[in-house]
């Protein structure tokens, strides 16, 4: 790549010493005159005043924030997905206010044009009838959803939230690369990038005239609120679930905007009304921000094999009991071949050309256009006419490499001849470059911008900022973006101070954040319950594991009665093998993490981090041969981390229904675990040391010593671990606590008759409150254990199914 180095005049410093722009390619920071553009000057001056160490320190602060906030990038390799560090470039892309306004004018015009086109596609079809759009572009298009024909009333716009991918060409003009209607938007990540950068440049940022983006999210909230209208139903974000690579963003946006995060299986349609199944019964949903691919939302009318949809959802949409932020089916606008026709439609419909052009596109279903694509192959990308994947992310696009090829290869030629209708040619786009920090200096890398628009009562509003993608390499061709790179914040700077807004200080008349107060989807409650049960089960088994190896470490042989007793009665007959025994806590910990992952919107980043930390600890030890002494150290460490997590649950979580289910999971599991230990004590073959083992597992050696004699007898142990209402390790304590939680759950104690769950727990508590230690027979413990599981089942039946 030919490059030019320019003397930067006033802003010269080490960072810029080797900054080389590419010939024939625009640069965002360095103007055509070779000087730093005005919008960048303050930032470059600030950067120039910092030492290399100072920069490293500041960049680390930003990364620290992202890591603590749980922002990561999920990467998929075949079937395995892994979490990668969020690839933030610490240098923002800076644009002046007036240039931003020009971009805005172009995109607002385009948004209005798209609204006109989509209304016609699902209405009169005049664009086809008048020959402005070939019939095949709809007729053969899987994104054009026939069941949605004629559904949207005139008074309701199809589009309320749009994003666009734009790039700057060699002539300095901006081009639309992709229209993004329902593909992943990355809007949520724009907030995180911004917060991270405000940590990197704390003093500078507060004085620089950078437009704030929080106001844009208030506008989204307001729009959602307006669209919900008089229907009193919930506003929810519909997500495909945690297996989707964008789930983190869905959870983030739902949390940030105060929306209920639901999946298809959470919803049910009754008499044309969509309802979310919650622990308080079905609650109506009035508005969805849909992040499930449109064709997947209703297996009865669209993609029949969809497992992430809700049967009947289209019925609810057709009856207008349910609305979507962007109308179902609007994704047809992403069809790549449309770009070939939009410029002409704009001239005809708006009476003016597009202010911001889109990539030059030729639909190969017409002979003349196909021939043009073939004649100009050296500057063409060829892809599916019906692709709705943004160009930058579509691996199916064939890019002509003029250096290697003289004409299209045979298979592309033959496709063009036989299946022209299914193909488009698009002119290769060359992007501008922007600085990124690599090896202690700035280098120029190609970039493109995601820009976001929301419809408001006063027309479209564009986020004064955005999400930039910066290429990992030098190739300025747009498609090289697919090969990964970094993301950057986008700063729109003003010559004058900018207004401050933050979601934390809403205006008096702004809608409250608590759209979803009180509605806990049953699926979320179920997952929270299982996080609780699994974590507690793991803790109990770590305690057993530690107790076992403490004895081994003291020289007790594996054949000794107490160790046989632990293996046989408390660990379900495992062999004397640390790895096998470790599975007893590894498995539930993985289960807990998995359950927590499914409720990204309900689980605090701190809690998630704590849980991941525990699992990492387990992973580290897995399969390593550890000396018994080290096992003690390691398991004590693990135990501390697990109790740290439980502490977080009880000290930091808001007392919501969600917390109640988590707490119930812990209590029921702990009570059942302790019952299992105590039941064995009454057996004739209980070995010497079994009583002390029970106290150790119940973490009650010290308190037992304080209340009873040094020597434990079965009565004192039963008192301490079964019946003592003040010992947080006893069965009674947790049954009582479970009862308190259940009393707060919907429909359990309100009426004259107790709910099934409330009745069961009250009976159990009464029994424990009235029985004496003599009455605690093995049979009674068996009954209590059965009753605890029956209670868990009743809870599931009542609230979670």
């Amino acid at each position: 790549m030919a490059s030019t180095q320019t003397n930067r005049g006033g802003a010269s410093n080490d960072l810029l010493a080797n900054y080389a722009t590419h010939r024939g390619v625009r640069d965002e920071m360095i103007g055509a005159d070779g000087a730093v553009k005005p919008a960048w000057r303050d930032l470059m001056k600030h950067l120039g005043e910092l030492s290399t160490e100072g920069l490293a320190h500041r960049f680390a602060r930003g990364d620290q924030y992202l890591s603590e906030a749980g922002v990561f990038y999920r990467q998929y390799d075949d079937t395995v997905s892994s979490e990668r560090e969020w690839p933030l470039s610490h240098i923002p892309v800076v644009l002046g206010e007036s240039e931003w306004a020009e971009i805005g004018a172009g995109l607002v015009q385009r948004a209005d044009l798209l609204e006109y086109v989509v209304r016609d596609f699902y209405g009169a079809n005049d664009l086809v009838r008048s020959g402005q759009i070939p019939a095949a572009l709809l007729g053969q298009n899987p994104a054009w959803l026939r069941p949605m024909m004629g559904v949207q009333p005139k008074s309701e716009p199809f589009l309320n939230f749009l994003s666009f991918e734009i790039g700057r060409g060699p002539d300095g003009r901006w081009w639309v690369i992709s229209d993004i209607v329902e593909s992943p938007t990355t809007t949520g990540f724009a907030i995180e990038n911004r917060v991270a950068l405000s940590r990197v440049f704390p003093n500078f940022f507060s004085n620089a005239h950078v437009h704030r983006i929080a106001g844009f999210f208030q506008a989204i909230q307001q729009r959602l609120f307006d669209l919900r209208g008089k229907g009193a139903g919930q506003i929810a974000m519909l997500s495909p679930g945690p297996m989707n690579q964008n789930y983190a963003e869905h959870a983030y946006l739902a949390r940030y905007l105060g929306l209920l995060l639901v999946e298809g299986e959470d919803l049910i349609v009754t008499d044309g009304q969509a309802m979310v199944r919650t622990v308080s019964g079905p609650k109506p949903i009035s508005l969805l921000w849909n992040r499930v691919p449109s064709a997947m939302i209703d297996p009865l009318e669209l993609e029949a094999a969809s497992l992430i949809g809700t049967p009947g959802l289209l019925d609810a949409l057709r009856r207008r009991n349910l609305r979507m932020l962007n109308a179902e089916g609007a994704g047809v606008l992403e069809t790549r071949a449309l770009m070939a026709f939009l410029p002409k439609i704009a001239r005809k419909h708006l009476g003016q050309p597009l202010i911001m052009p889109n990539i030059a596109t030729w639909w190969c279903g017409h002979a003349a256009e196909r021939d043009h694509v073939i004649r100009h192959c050296e500057q063409m990308m060829v892809g599916s006419a019906f692709s709705t994947v943004p160009l930058m992310a579509d691996p199916g696009t064939f890019v002509f490499d003029a250096d290697k090829l003289g004409s299209f290869p045979d298979h592309v030629m033959s496709l063009l001849q036989t299946s022209g209708r299914e193909l488009v040619g698009q002119e290769t786009v060359t992007l501008s470059t922007t600085p990124v920090y690599e090896n202690e200096q700035l280098v120029a890398r190609p970039m493109c911008l995601r820009v976001f628009l929301v419809r408001t009562a006063d027309g479209w509003q564009m986020m004064p900022g955005g999400y930039a993608r910066v290429s990992g390499g030098d190739d300025p061709k747009a498609l090289a973006m697919q090969r990964g790179g970094k993301v950057a914040d986008v700063w729109i700077v003003s010559d004058t101070p900018v207004p401050q807004t933050s979601l934390l200080t809403p205006k008096a008349d702004a809608p409250t954040r608590a759209f979803s107060e009180g509605a806990l989807p049953s699926r979320s409650a179920d997952n929270l319950f299982w996080v609780g049960r699994n974590v507690e089960r793991a803790e109990f088994n770590v305690r057993l594991f530690r107790a076992y190896f403490a004895r081994v470490s003291d020289g007790v042989s594996p054949g000794a009665p107490i160790l046989r007793y632990i293996r046989k009665h408390l660990l379900f007959g495992v062999t004397h093998d640390a790895a096998t025994m470790a599975e007893r806590f590894e498995t539930p910990l993985y289960g807990a993490l998995q359950a927590a992952t499914k409720i990204g919107d309900r689980f605090s980043p701190d809690g998630m981090k704590a849980l991941k930390d525990i699992v990492q600890n387990v992973d580290r030890l897995h399969g390593i041969k550890v000396e018994p002494d080290d096992i003690l150290t390691e398991s004590s460490l693990l135990l501390r981390k697990i109790t740290g997590f439980s502490g977080l649950v009880h000290e930091n979580m808001y007392r919501s229904h969600g917390w109640r289910f988590l707490s119930l999971g812990i209590s029921l599991e702990r009570a059942a675990g302790m019952v299992r230990v105590l039941r064995q004590l009454g057996r004739a073959d209980a070995p010497e040391g079994a009583l002390n083992l029970a106290l150790e597992l119940g973490d009650s050696i010290v308190s037992h010593r304080a209340r009873f004699s040094v020597v434990a007898d079965i009565g004192s142990v039963f008192h301490m671990l079964a019946l003592d209402a003040n010992n947080p390790r006893s069965v009674r304590f947790h049954v009582t606590r479970a009862n308190q939680q259940i009393k707060e759950l919907p429909g359990q104690t309100g009426g004259a008759v107790l709910g099934d769950v409330a009745r069961r727990i009250l009976l159990l508590e009464t029994q424990l409150a009235t029985v004496t230690t003599d009455g605690l027979t093995t049979e009674l413990f068996d009954r209590i254990e059965r009753e605890l599981w029956a209670l868990s089942d009743a809870l599931t039946e009542t609230f979670l199914v």
Partner: protein, 292 residues
């Protein structure tokens, strides 16, 4: 010809099902001068908690119903009386493949009869090179589009064997083509793909078939269940022609149309979704009696 048609679809759920939601397309269509529905009745047991009729994009009558409560058996019974006239006879209007392509490029209609919907791909049918090669091998230069439709249908009938045990409703058209076995759905799917490969718009027709042949005639294949055949667009003048590849015939008064679509997915007689842990058994019986 006047018929009394009776259809029973029954489901038995091995473990009780709740929240069942079904969309069914089983009532014959009213079709201008061709089909006149005199009386029809749809009975669902147990009685649904919700039920309504609507018309889908392709003009088919659909009934949606919900069983909110737990149930272990469900049956749909459709009874109707219908008067059927033969479709307009095939005009001798020879249109070549090239002329068809020109007409298609000029299509500016998006209504349910527009050929533009039927060029594929469709929910169940994606172009396949083996079936395309078969279609190209059968086609003769100089054939009119209608000739090609019949030649393809006859060729397909020749290589396929009717076998109700070889495939299921979920069988992929390509698999059936490789097996060379199947039922009306498989015959129709393969023929649709073959026609589309030649640039001829083709769709799926579901319906009923007269159970007993007229005196001296042979009993048609597929008469004891709902039937399916193919419609192909032979240009603006000739319009849609219906052909039954399972029985190697142009459709006449023995065929009663229920639904038109791009493939089975658009006209499936019964699409259901319910919460149940177990399997289900489904049975179907059809009786199409001539009213004398």
């Amino acid at each position: 010809m006047e018929y009394d048609i009776r259809l029973t679809l029954s489901h038995t759920y091995h473990s009780p099902a709740g929240n069942g939601r079904h969309v069914v397309r089983v009532v014959p269509r009213a079709l201008g001068g061709r089909q006149r529905l005199k009386l029809s009745m749809l009975t669902i047991t147990p009685s649904p908690s919700e039920q309504f009729d609507s018309v889908d994009f392709f003009g088919n009558q659909t009934t949606t119903f919900v069983h909110a409560d737990v149930h272990s058996e469900m049956a749909i019974t459709m009874a109707c009386r219908i008067d059927v006239q033969a479709p307009a006879p095939l005009l001798d209007f020879p249109l070549t493949a090239e002329q068809l392509a020109v007409e298609l490029a000029d299509v500016r209609e998006m209504g349910p009869l527009s050929p533009t919907h039927f060029l594929g791909p469709s929910p169940r049918l994606v172009a396949n090179s083996e079936i395309s090669a078969f279609a190209r091998a059968i086609r003769r230069d100089g054939d009119s589009v209608a000739d090609t439709v019949m030649r393809l249908g006859e060729a397909l009938h020749g290589i396929m064997t009717f076998d109700a045990m070889a495939t299921t409703v979920d069988t992929n058209a390509v698999d059936a083509f490789r097996l060379k076995r199947g039922v009306c759905q498989d015959y129709s799917h393969v023929m649709i793909l073959a026609l589309r490969a030649l640039g001829i718009p083709a769709g799926y027709v579901s319906g009923y078939l007269r159970t007993l042949p007229p005196k001296g005639g042979t009993r048609l294949e597929g008469a004891d269940a709902m039937h399916a055949w193919v419609k192909a667009w032979c240009g603006a003048a000739l319009g849609w022609v219906e052909y039954d590849p399972t029985n190697r015939c142009i459709v006449g008064t023995d065929h009663i149309v229920v639904g038109y679509g791009r493939d089975y997915a658009d006209v499936s007689p019964d699409i259901g979704h319910l919460r149940s842990a177990g399997n289900q058994t489904t049975s179907q019986s059809v009786d199409v009696k001539v009213v004398t």
